[in-house]
Amino acid sequence: MNAPELLRKVCTGHLMIVGEVRSAEIKESGVVDKNSGLRVSVWLLVYFVELNREHEFLVAKITRRVPRDVADPTSYPTGAERGKCYAFEVECVERKHGFVSARMGLAEPTEIGPGEGGAPVPAPSGAGMGGTPLSLV
C-alpha cells in the first residue's frame, strides 16, 4: 500500500493505524469458571506497534482473532514482520492503561512501502505519557 491508497482508505471512512511493528505474536487468552470448571478461550494475534508520531513515543496494542476453524492456531501466520511498517485497519480504538488499544477485523495488516509511511521519528528522552511507571518498584 502506498500513501495515496492509504489516504483514500482513510477518506472513505476506514479507521487505520500505521506504525512499525515491534512484536507480533499469537497468544491464547481465556477465562475459567472456578466453580464449574468450564472454560472459554480464544487465540489472538497481538501486535505491538510503534506509532509514527512526531516527538512522541506512543505504542498501540492491536489484537486480531485467529479464525476458529484453524486447526493449529500457533502456526497461523501473523501477517506482519518485526521492524517493518504496516497499516492496520481496525474496528475500534480506545486509550487503555497508557496504550492505544485497538481491535482488528478480518483484514490482514498491509505493508507500507519504503518511504511511504516512513520510519518512526525518534522520541526525545523523557517524552511520552507521564514517565515510566517504575516508580511503583
Binding site: S23, S36, V40, F57, K61, S125, L134, V137
Partner: protein, 213 residues
C-alpha cells in the same frame, strides 16, 4: 468479550445440556424503567410461587422503540397459558416463547455487548434466579499474558486493596509491552528470572529511548 458476557454464556452452558426455552416479555405501551423492573419482580415472584423448581437467567434489553423488556431463559417446559395469566396479573403485555439450542442463548449475549443506556447504569443487565449455581464474575479466572504479569507483580510488590489501581495497570501494561518486545516469559523478567529478582535497571535495560509512558 466482557467478563459479564462470558459469565452469562458459561451460565447458559451450565443451565442446559440439550435445549433451552427462551421467553420474551413485553408491554403494550412504553413504561419507565423503574416501573418495568417493579413489574418484573412481581411477575418473577408469581412465577416462582407457581413453579418453585423454576430456574434460569433473565436479561434486560432496552429496545429502540419498545422500551425496556425482559428475556428469560429456562431449562424446563412451563405452560405458556398459565404464564400468560400470571403476566397479565403482574401488568405485562405480550409473551413469546420458543425452544432454542444451547448455542442460541449466545444470541441473548449480544444484548450484553451493546452500549449500556445511561438509565441502566449500575443495573444488573442479566441475573440468574432459582436454586442453581450460575457463574458469577468473581468466579472467573482470566488467563492471559496481562493477567499473568499482574499476578506476578501483585505477589512481588504485595499489592492489596484498590489504592493506585490505575498506576498498577499502567505498570503491568508497560511490562506486557516489554515482555512482548524482548521475548520474556510471561510474568518473568529478562533471562526467565522472576520479577522479584530483577532490579530496576534490568527491567529498563534497552528501553531508555523507548519509554512508552
Amino acid at each position: 468479550m466482557t467478563k459479564s458476557k462470558t459469565a452469562f454464556l458459561l451460565s447458559t452452558q451450565i443451565l442446559g445440556k440439550q435445549s433451552l426455552y427462551m421467553w420474551t416479555f413485553t408491554f403494550a405501551e412504553v413504561l419507565n424503567v423503574k416501573d418495568t423492573r417493579k413489574r418484573w419482580n412481581h411477575l418473577l415472584t408469581l412465577m416462582r410461587e407457581r413453579w418453585p423448581q423454576m430456574c434460569g437467567v433473565r436479561v434486560f434489553e432496552m429496545h429502540e422503540f419498545h422500551g425496556l423488556h425482559v428475556h428469560l431463559v429456562t431449562n424446563r417446559f412451563l405452560d405458556v397459558n398459565e404464564a400468560r395469566k400470571l403476566a397479565h396479573q403482574a401488568g405485562w403485555g405480550r409473551i413469546d416463547v420458543k425452544q432454542i439450542p444451547i448455542e442460541g442463548a449466545a444470541y441473548l449475549g449480544k444484548y450484553l455487548s451493546k452500549e449500556r443506556p445511561p438509565c441502566l447504569k449500575r443495573w444488573r443487565l442479566w441475573a440468574g434466579f432459582g436454586e442453581w449455581a450460575w457463574t458469577k464474575i468473581k468466579d472467573l479466572i482470566t488467563q492471559s499474558r496481562f493477567s499473568t504479569i499482574y499476578r506476578a507483580c501483585k505477589e512481588w510488590l504485595g499489592w492489596t486493596g484498590k489504592k493506585g489501581f490505575f498506576d498498577r495497570m499502567k505498570f503491568v501494561a508497560w511490562l506486557e509491552f516489554r515482555s512482548a518486545v524482548e521475548g520474556w516469559i510471561d510474568g518473568c523478567g529478562p533471562g526467565g528470572k522472576p520479577l522479584w529478582m530483577c532490579c530496576r535497571a534490568e527491567l529498563m535495560e534497552g528501553a531508555a529511548v523507548e519509554r512508552p509512558f
